[in-house]
């Protein structure tokens, strides 16, 4: 980052404790609401794409049955991310949503997608209550946003050329959701009929709860509230 002085609103004055706490709360609220919207998007984009006829792949079966962030969990996410990077670079997957996605962006998106699918599996298998699943997802998104900020802050000054905002948009914005849906669809297919059926059932349960939760969010933009009301509950 250059040393130029850019004027920003006093709202972002981090030296003022009151401002700082209010802003962190606002960012926390944005993360919470984005996660709930993401859960709905995941349900809308995922549920029709499970291939229940595909034979099970052992590594994925192990992934869904393992605990969160176990060695198997992290290993499989790294394998799926690497496969996705290769697919992108070879042009097997392409389009505007895939443009400018770095391996790190794809790792963030794959972690997000694979974690959601695993939570869904565990909700359907009775290991997780849907309400706990939403809380878990919000914590996961918070950890991911923190990861992006930490990584970008290390990169700043090394002429990486993209802002933290651009990276967050690439992961959680429309492009990130679209890439996540494609990865989710392929993982869902390869997971096989047994696991796939559980994921599908769990996603529906979480999506249903997310739609209920969204009704309780009062401070989202009118455009979003009106759209969600018309699109989902109309």
């Amino acid at each position: 980052m250059s040393n130029e002085i850019i004027e920003v609103d006093s709202k972002y004055d981090m030296t003022d404790e009151f401002n700082r706490k209010a802003l962190v709360k606002e960012i926390g609220d944005d993360i919470r609401e984005s996660t709930i919207f993401g859960a709905i998007s995941f349900e809308e984009g995922f549920k029709l794409r499970i291939d229940k006829e595909h034979e099970e792949v052992k590594a994925l079966n192990d992934y869904f049955k393992s605990s969160f962030d176990s060695d198997v969990d992290k290993d499989v996410k790294k394998v799926v991310t690497t496969a996705t990077v290769i697919a992108k670079e070879k042009g097997i997957v392409s389009g505007k949503y895939w443009e400018n996605k770095t391996p790190s962006d794809i790792a963030n998106i794959v972690d997000n997608t694979m974690t959601k699918a695993k939570i869904a599996y565990k909700v359907a298998s009775g290991e997780f209550e849907p309400i706990d699943a939403i809380e878990f997802m919000i914590d996961r998104t918070t950890a991911t946003v923190s990861t992006v900020i930490s990584q970008k802050c290390v990169e700043v000054g090394t002429a990486t050329g993209r802002t933290i905002g651009g990276t967050i948009g690439s992961i959680f914005g429309p492009g990130g959701i679209a890439v996540g849906s494609t990865v989710g669809a392929v993982v869902g297919r390869v997971a096989g009929k047994g696991v796939g059926a559980f994921i599908s059932k769990g996603i529906e349960k979480i999506g249903g709860l997310a739609k209920t939760a969204i009704r309780g969010i009062n401070n989202v933009a009118n455009k979003i509230r009106n759209f969600v009301g018309r699109f989902l509950f109309g």
Partner: protein, 132 residues
């Protein structure tokens, strides 16, 4: 994505997952992934394959570490927002006050923009040409 590409991506993923499953020493995962990248031919040089794997590996590990740190933090009766404030303080510690404000504004703007694009996201999900 048309059916051919969908099949291509599925087959690539399935082959890699089966090869990972056959890997006897799972602690050599990064070497395995480097080899997969090199055999795919997408890397421009030997170092690039290692760089890609390092980037992927460190990102997945960092999310897990931060997530677990957040869980431990909450077990102490503290909130998610308090954890986020702690994380921001650490990440932004090397910047001056003006730079901190700019970075936080970028984060805030990006998250708000993402929310405001929800309608587009949900509509676009219907447009994504994933083979069904």
């Amino acid at each position: 994505m048309d059916k051919k590409d969908y099949d291509g991506f599925s087959n690539l993923l399935e082959d890699m997952l089966n090869a990972y499953d056959d890997l006897e020493d799972k602690t050599k995962l990064n070497d395995f992934l480097e080899k997969e990248i090199k055999s795919s031919g997408i890397n421009r040089d030997n170092n690039e394959a290692k760089d890609i794997v390092d980037e992927i590996s460190s990102t997945v590990d960092m999310i897990a570490t931060k997530f677990n740190d957040l869980q431990e933090f909450k077990k102490q009766g503290k909130s998610r927002e308090e954890w986020l404030e702690k994380e921001l303080n650490v990440a932004l510690s090397k910047f001056d006050d003006n730079q901190k404000s700019i970075i936080i504004k970028q984060v805030d703007d990006a998250l708000k923009k993402n929310k405001a694009e929800l309608s587009d996201i949900l509509n676009k999900l219907k447009e994504i040409k994933v083979y069904e």
